[in-house]
Symmetry: C2
Subunit: 196 residues, 2 copies
């Protein structure tokens, strides 16, 4: 279950698989899950297409594994550190800040921003996996907002999400870091909404 990076106790195959997925997440963040091509991925990792392919059995399985790896990366970088803050408002603040900072984590911008826009109109397991991960994330935001005493937790979670994804999208296209200021200012306003 643990998709740790280069675990010495892992078998050769698991190590390779982890290295493949590491690169795959970055590639998919930039080029999308469709642009994530087996040949290109193999070339970048200097291995054969068929050798790489054997690890997954199909393109779709590779995509699903990549989504899982991205979710794991997100969990480690955003969720877990925020768990040190107590439930409610402090947790919410920590999640928002980590969420904003994690955008640098994927070299091609936010993995979820890229893939959700790509697959929202392509029904199937891949779409379901992306939607599931995002629903879980929005759900967590909503849960913490509820604990913090927000009157409309679902709306609150949506606004938080929209601000950060908007910052990612705008920064990716304009390259202007001022959007992060704007995002933080919007986040501060949301923070001010929290009771207590």
């Amino acid at each position: 279950m643990a998709t740790a990076t280069r675990d010495a106790s892992a078998s050769k195959g698991e190590q390779t698989r982890a290295a493949i997925l590491e690169r795959a997440v970055d590639l998919a963040s930039a080029e999308g899950l469709e642009g994530l091509t087996i040949g290109r991925l193999a070339a970048e990792l200097r291995m054969s297409k068929s050798g790489l392919f054997a690890h997954f059995g199909s393109k779709q399985e590779l995509q699903l594994a990549t989504i899982e790896a991205a979710a794991e990366r997100f969990r480690v970088a955003v969720i877990e550190p925020a768990l040190e803050a107590p439930d409610g408002a402090p947790r919410l603040r920590a999640l928002g800040e980590r969420y904003l900072e994690h955008l640098d984590l994927y070299s091609g911008g936010c993995f979820w921003g890229a893939t959700s826009a790509e697959y929202d109109d392509r029904p199937g397991p891949v779409r379901d996996a992306v939607a599931g991960a995002l629903d879980a994330w929005l759900g967590e935001l909503e849960r913490q907002a509820r604990i913090a005493g927000v009157e409309q937790p679902e709306r609150f979670a949506f606004e938080l999400y929209a601000v950060i994804m908007g910052a990612n999208a705008r920064y990716r296209l304009s390259g202007d870091p001022k959007v992060f200021e704007y995002a933080r200012s919007a986040l501060a306003r949301l923070d001010a909404e929290l009771p207590e």
Copy 2:
């Protein structure tokens, strides 16, 4: 310059070209500008690949023409109707509401949401065209915000943009129309920011 729909005064070739682009915008909204494939587009329009291809000369030209057609559609549906409202706050309200409503216009969700996420990491004329269209749009929002007397027009434009694109992204993935309520509530709060 006018990419009108089925203009009787247009030659056969122009009519065909317009019909192609009409379908191309919808297809690209759903599948992206890369998923917009010449063979598939030709099949849907019941014409030959080569016949369609001849209208553009290259895939990239087709993509650029599609972007232009999408911008035209956006202009007709959002910008022009809002021009009836006077500059400043009323114009801004009209733009926001039209902007939100226009999401239904593209069968595959917002064309700009899909394509900007797809091309933000692929340098070239296509990316430049998408970025240019979005910059123009954000610029117009900012301009109107400035006229309305907003203290930070660029931040205001960003928030407006983020809320609506967030609503599009969320609705596309979850299918829950409640996000539009949330978006409208966020829009109302932005509206309340306007002086006078």
